[in-house]
């Protein structure tokens, strides 16, 4: 069974088209991540799936049922928001139980499910506190708990970690991955942090300007991007795009090389001068200005004593290079 199917979904706000012809399938138990630059329509797509916005046209089906005219509460979804969105007047327990009370579930079921979620998320000590007395990470866990107790067919996360600090973000990321394994539930997760996208996803959906650019597993997208946008969006530091710096490259073709695929060499197809060095301990990032005035980044494993101003030559294996035409589409030479 498929958790979610979108067919030609469009959404406009007045004249402005925000989503254009989205087609997408989420299989049962799949973890799908939407990524894309700010304003590309990720949240809007999530809200259309949740039923908080109506699709202007197209079909949304969840768990096999067309839900275009079903209110959010009846769609079998649960959503976790970036701003937590906990009910300020209710305790942690009240926050989690409210949805079930609205569904008129018997008290025993409510107690049992809340207890299970509390145990899973380690919230036992805070059960009677108000949201205002919790830290950011605890609040986000309560918000996740509120989603879990409803046992939805589909979880929706809208940038749930972006208000947390770096360490907490990493912990919560692992917790979410863990949760996905334990519940084996279908999840859709919106982020513009590509580490989250790469580490969590079974399938990544790259969006740009309301269109799906490419769909695939993280490694498929990394190894085989369909166009220059996807190539540049995934991977950190992002891919270098060189129009003229590579010796004997054909005209009108942009060569894309990931920073980790460049190596220092005695002589090579690229020459330039070091403009900046970032020593990270385990890695070294070297920023280079080529003799054709293009900027590129080299990522070297380990520590390297490069100096700003130094002239260097760079080489790469031809099979690691990508080629794009003037319309930014991938071409195979």
């Amino acid at each position: 069974m498929t958790a979610l199917v979108l067919e030609n979904v469009c959404k406009s706000f007045g004249e402005v088209k925000v989503l254009k012809d989205i087609n997408l399938t989420v299989e049962d138990g799949e973890f799908v991540v939407f990524v894309g630059p700010s304003g590309c329509g990720k949240s809007t797509l999530l809200r259309v799936i949740a039923g908080l916005e109506d699709a202007t046209s197209g079909i949304v089906s969840i768990g096999g049922d067309v839900v275009n005219n079903t209110p959010p509460a009846k769609r079998g979804i649960a959503m976790v928001f970036q701003s937590y969105a906990l009910y300020p007047h209710l305790s942690v327990k009240g926050n989690m139980a409210l949805g079930l009370k609205q569904e008129k579930q018997p008290n025993s079921v409510i107690e049992e499910r809340v207890a299970k979620a509390v145990q899973m998320l380690d919230l036992g000590a805070y059960i009677d506190r108000r949201p205002s007395d919790l830290s950011g990470g605890q609040r986000q866990r309560v918000a996740i708990g509120r989603a879990i107790v409803r046992e939805p067919k589909l979880f929706l996360f809208d940038e749930p970690l972006s208000n947390l600090d770096a360490a907490l973000r990493m912990n919560t990321r692992i917790e979410i991955a863990d949760l996905h394994r334990k519940l084996s539930a279908s999840m859709i997760y919106v982020t513009h942090d590509q580490t989250e996208a790469m580490t969590l996803a079974d399938k990544i959906v790259v969006l740009r300007d309301g269109r799906v650019e490419q769909v695939g597993s993280p490694m498929e997208l990394y190894n085989n991007p369909a166009n220059q946008f996807v190539a540049g969006f995934l991977g950190a530091p992002s891919m270098n795009f060189l129009k003229t710096s590579v010796a004997d490259a054909p005209d009108g073709i942009t060569t894309g090389i990931r920073p980790e695929h460049l190596t220092l060499a005695k002589s090579g197809p690229i020459t330039g001068n070091v403009t900046h060095v970032e020593q990270l301990g385990g890695d070294t990032n070297i920023l280079v200005k080529t003799n054709k005035d293009e900027m590129l980044t080299v990522r070297l494993f380990g520590q390297h004593p490069s100096q700003v101003g130094e002239a260097i030559n760079l080489n790469f294996a031809p099979e690691n290079a990508f080629h794009f035409d003037n319309n930014q589409n991938r071409v195979h030479l």
Binding site: A78, Y84, A85, L86, H89, L98, E103
Partner: protein
Amino acid sequence: MSTARSNRFNTFAAHGALILYTLIALFPVFVIVINSFKTRKAIFREPLAMPNSDSFSLIGYETVLKQGDFFLYFQNSMIVTVGSLFFILLFGAMAAFALAEYRFKGNTLMGLYLALGIMIPIRIGTVAILEMMVQTGLVNTLWALILVYTAQGLPLAVFILSEFMRQVSDDLKNAGRIDGLNEYTIFFRLVLPLVRPAMATVAVFNMIPIWNDLWFPLILAPAEEVKTLTLGSQVFIGQFVTDWNAVLSALSLAILPVMGLYVIFSRQLIRGITSGAVK
């Protein structure tokens, strides 16, 4: 160093200005209250003197209380003020929520139409209002006053409250929708508590003019059993003789209920209860 000094200077200046303003604003009230405890002669001989054993007298209060209906006037004023505030806040908040939350045709136009009421004084329509009240048989009822004051207060209430409601997090309302709350529950349970300070502001803004109004009680409800306090006090002001003791005592008493209401609302104003709902 220099910023610290100028900061202290600023603080002093600000406090000085505020204290001065408070003194100026409270002075008439002070004069009214002290004179309400003096004999008529003492009021005119030395209006600014405190009452002493010679000049002290409760004659004003005795007159007021002997006038029998005074408690009724109090009650009428209270009903009108509280009733009007209730409807202003209820309907104002509902309209503000609709304007702030829902996209529908004519939303902006509706907002402008409601805002127009802020600029046009309702008293211009007095004659038409009186005709309507006569036709609906509401003349000489408290409802006439409550309806008019509600209409008078709504524009500003909608304007202020919709601005605040726009700031209530969309995520919170959406979380409620996903949990199956209906729009009324979202409005009453989630949104209203978060805009409580704004509601208190609106209540305070509207309360004093309603309590003090003489115009509409005189025109719409002058009958004895529906007189408001302000109108009732007028019996002591005659064309030829004015019973100043009674007038001052009545005014002093009239201050008390509004002060009570103000204390209630201002506590809401200060209580910033909402932190922690959203980040």
